[in-house]
């Protein structure tokens, strides 16, 4: 009898990239629902716009580069980028801002560097930073959290869509009625105005630990992250590193001078901390690769977020922290090469 030949091993792997990406998306669903509950359906619209442009950019680049469009699109990595962008951008963002971020992320940060697996920078964060630096005025419309104030108005999907497409509100709505400063902005401005953290916390956008609504979204993101950890889609090193890098310095400062610093709980449950720890920093392509390296990488991201929030001029520092640590990855990888079994455990040096 005759048979076909091939190379060992003769076992088909149990996982695949598509299912990993899909599980990452599933893990974001609870947080997305909470987001929509607290801040309106803008997130969904953001995601749709981002998904369309990410997928279009991906398909175009794959076509131009002579790669299989079908294989490239069905790994769903473009959708993950879109989801992360949707969470990062304010709930009310003009469609062309989202489109710019999506296209820059996928076309420049991802495909011009060689496509999935070769991008040095996290595409979502690269796109977000370009949008933030280019259109700061169009990225400050953060909707008020549900049940925060008496004049609260929950944006309907039509109202949100109208703003995103045309940049205008219906006559009965004003910019001031629906938008609020983010908790991070509120704390930053408050501390700058010599208010104590306790005084700032009475503001209606503030919750028990972090920002109102934000802290619950953070919880759901952490839950999704825990699920990914359980399924071994992500490993603990990066989330642990990020949270440690953020909590350790903030706890030290808070306990030394409690009045003039935000609490570690606030750092943890506001802005993009949780999303960063479990979903952004854990992007394996742009993170360090060894376990020790990932711990260092995560810690660096956490510490930079803390540093930017505390001393920088931006309210949240997730995107910059990620991009800066992306740049450090080759060095981290080089310095944290694990010991190969059977080799001398000599002192590691630069060579």
């Amino acid at each position: 009898m005759e048979f076909n030949r091939r190379d060992a091993p003769f076992v088909t792997p149990a996982t695949n990239v598509q299912s990993i990406m899909l599980q990452v998306l599933y893990a974001l669903i609870p947080a997305a629902l909470a987001y929509v509950w607290y801040f309106g359906p803008g997130l969904i619209l953001n995601f749709i716009v981002a998904a369309i442009f990410c997928a279009a950019g991906e398909a175009a680049m794959l076509h131009i580069r002579g790669k299989s469009v079908e294989t490239g699109l069905t790994d769903f990595s473009a959708l993950v980028t879109a989801a992360l962008l949707a969470f990062a951008l304010p709930a009310l963002t003009p469609w062309w801002v989202t489109a710019t971020a999506a296209l820059f992320g996928v076309v420049v940060a991802k495909h011009l560097y060689g496509g999935l697996g070769f991008n040095i920078f996290n595409p979502a964060m690269a796109g977000y930073v370009v949008a933030m630096v280019s259109f700061p005025m169009h990225m400050n419309l953060w909707t008020a959290p549900r049940m925060g104030d008496l004049d609260y108005h929950y944006m309907t999907i039509l109202e949100s869509a109208r703003y995103m497409l045309t940049g205008t509100f219906p006559d009965y709505l004003s910019f001031d009625a629906i938008s609020r400063a983010t908790p991070l902005d509120t704390v930053k401005a408050g501390l700058r105005n010599l208010q104590t953290f306790e005084e700032i916390r009475v503001n209606s956008v503030m919750g028990d630990f972090g920002g109102r609504g934000w802290e619950w979204i953070g919880n759901y993101i952490a839950m999704g992250g825990a699920w990914l950890l359980m399924r071994k889609i992500i490993r603990w090193q990066i989330p642990f590193g990020v949270l440690a890098g953020l909590l350790i310095p903030s706890a030290i400062l808070y306990f030394l001078e409690p009045g003039i610093h935000a609490s570690p709980g606030f750092f943890m449950f506001s802005g993009g901390t949780m999303l960063c720890a479990f979903f952004i920093a854990t992007d394996p392509v742009s993170a360090a690769t060894s376990n020790k390296g990932r711990l260092i990488y995560g810690f660096g991201v956490g510490f930079l977020i803390f540093a930017i929030r505390t001393w920088g001029s931006y309210a949240d520092g997730v995107a910059f922290a990620i991009l800066m640590m992306n740049m450090s990855v080759p060095a981290i990888d080089y310095l944290t090469k694990p010991h190969i079994v059977g080799h001398d455990r000599g002192p590691k040096g630069l060579s």
């Binding site: 005759e2 076909n4 091993p9 792997p13 149990a14 990993i20 690769t289």
Partner: protein, 511 residues
């Protein structure tokens, strides 16, 4: 004896818990294969140089008769597995990495299975000194039956030159499907234990660990009973957790002694000798019963055969004949693999013979999906499972880029090709195959470099020689010129003198 110690896994990095798939082939006792019509014996069934046939075509041979011997270098002799006539020595399909065919001795069996006189071969090994015992083992054609097929005698000869502490018998069959060692330990436990005693004598060691996975309770019990019967306190049973690839030689050493075999080194570098349990049994069969390595237990299994089973078959039996013993192929048979699913080798035809290395004949039912490779997303799962603690994701990059320096630095040559990384790769990249290829390229490059270096040296030596010869010639020429000049001047002077003299003489005459 059932209280065998278990090792914790902390000492071994990575690895995988694989579905065992062994139950199907262990329900029945080992089947003794009948004498086939024809035996095909490759001249290379071991690490080293091919053996040289010492019989002619048409000659009659007896069971156990030496038919091919080593040329004195690394290798092992080959014996006739049954009586019959040598009909050909010609290329035949075999299962090996390089090339599809190899020279084989083909015996047409007469069915009598008449054995060669063994009376003189059997000696009391305890009366032999280690050197003679090793020489004796050498003559039995014994090679490592765990898969590496390194000639056992030569491995032991190398070992006794090093300070030894541990003899470890490897009863670990960590690859799925394979159960030949398990069945051998169950049914031939006494042979294994006596083999261990012979090995201890040969190595002058007074201690031996027999390492068996905890998922082989029957084998553990059988070995324990065999030990109890002969009251042998020097041999200790060790139960190890079943995790792939704990049965790799270096991995087992690490598991038992917590010492890492140095890169490019041997277990003897950390005072260990590892022998497969099947090898130990084969040594006993030869030393105490005069039967050289002419048969082995092999597992025939997979969803592509009707009745998976272990058979004791003569070396040289074709796979086609062996599969018949397992009830033949099912209609789903798609892939024929010699060895296990992780490190085995697929073959294109079942005409290939069973060789000393063949521990398993695996017939897989489904076509393994291939070619839907996606880009590496650097998830690092491969590094998580690598038993050598390599970074396959980085090696893959460097292999794609043909970056030889980096490949060296990141330990490509330390890769044991266990296949763990392939199994966890979500991008379905054939990492092990890529690494195998990169290793080949690296070897080629090294060979090429060595060749180039040799050529360069030859060229330089030649240039030097030519220069020296030229210089020599120049010098000689100069000398000759000088001599010629001196000679010429003296000659001219002589002529002038003569002429002068003559003229004065003439003048004198005139006067």
């Amino acid at each position: 004896m059932s209280a065998a110690a278990t090792y914790d896994l902390g000492k071994l990095h990575g690895g995988l818990r694989l579905p065992s798939e062994k139950e199907v082939s262990t329900t029945e006792k080992i089947l003794h294969a009948p004498i086939p019509d024809q035996l095909v014996l490759p001249l290379t069934q071991h690490v080293g140089n091919p053996s040289q046939p010492i019989i002619g075509i048409g000659e009659r041979v007896l069971k156990g008769q030496l038919i091919a011997n080593t040329d004195g270098s690394l290798g092992a002799p080959i014996h006739a597995p049954s009586s019959g006539k040598i009909v050909a020595i010609e290329p035949w399909p075999v299962s090996r990495r390089n090339g599809e065919t190899a020279p084989c001795i083909i015996i047409e069996c007469d069915g009598n299975d008449q054995a060669i006189e063994t009376a003189e071969i059997i000696v009391d090994y305890t009366k032999l000194d280690p050197d003679s015992l090793l020489h004796k083992i050498m003559q039995g054609g014994i090679v490592g039956l765990g898969g590496a097929v390194f000639p056992t005698a030569q491995k032991l000869m190398q070992a006794i030159t090093a300070p030894l502490e541990h003899l470890i018998l490897n009863g670990i069959e960590c690859e799925p499907y394979i159960s030949c060692d398990d069945m051998l330990m169950r049914e031939y436990a006494a042979d294994v234990i006596q083999g261990a005693q012979i090995l201890m004598h040969a190595l002058s060691l007074s201690q031996c660990h027999v390492a068996v996975e905890s998922d082989k309770p029957e084998a553990l019990i059988a070995l324990g009973e065999a030990l109890a019967q002969i009251d042998e306190p020097r041999i200790v049973l060790k139960q190890v957790p079943s995790i792939y690839p704990s049965g790799g030689e270096d991995q087992l050493v690490q598991l038992v002694t917590n010492k890492e075999v140095p890169s490019g080194g041997l277990p003897t570098d950390v005072g260990c000798v590892v022998q497969n349990v099947g090898t130990a049994a084969a040594i006993n069969r030869w030393v105490c019963h005069g039967e050289p390595l002419i048969s082995r237990v092999t597992t025939i299994t997979g969803h592509g055969v009707a009745k998976p089973v272990n058979v004791l078959a003569r070396i040289g039996t074709t796979i086609a004949d062996i599969v018949t013993l397992a009830g033949g192929y099912t209609e789903h048979a798609r892939q024929l693999i010699i060895g296990g699913p992780m490190t085995g080798r697929s073959v294109s035809t079942d005409r290939v013979p069973l060789v000393k290395a063949s521990n398993c004949v695996l017939v897989l039912a489904d076509e393994i999906t291939q070619g839907n490779e996606r880009p590496c997303i650097r998830c690092g799962e491969c590094a998580e499972v690598c038993p050598i603690q390599l970074l396959p994701q980085q090696l893959y990059w460097f292999a794609c880029a043909d970056n030889e320096a980096k490949l060296r630095k990141f330990g490509l040559i330390d890769c044991i090709e266990c296949g763990c990384c392939d199994l966890v790769c979500p991008s379905h990249i054939p990492l092990t195959a890529d690494f195998r290829m990169a290793k080949g390229r690296m070897r080629e490059l090294a060979d090429e470099k060595a060749r180039a270096e040799r050529a360069k040296q030859r060229f330089e030596t030649r240039n030097l020689r030519i220069r020296q010869e030229q210089e020599q010639r120049d010098k000689e020429l100069a000398n000759q010129k000088e001599t010629a000049r001196l000679f010429a001047t003296s000659k001219i002077k002589a002529i002038v003198d003569r002429a002068r003299k003559k003229s004065t003489d003439d003048q004198d005459e005139e006067q």
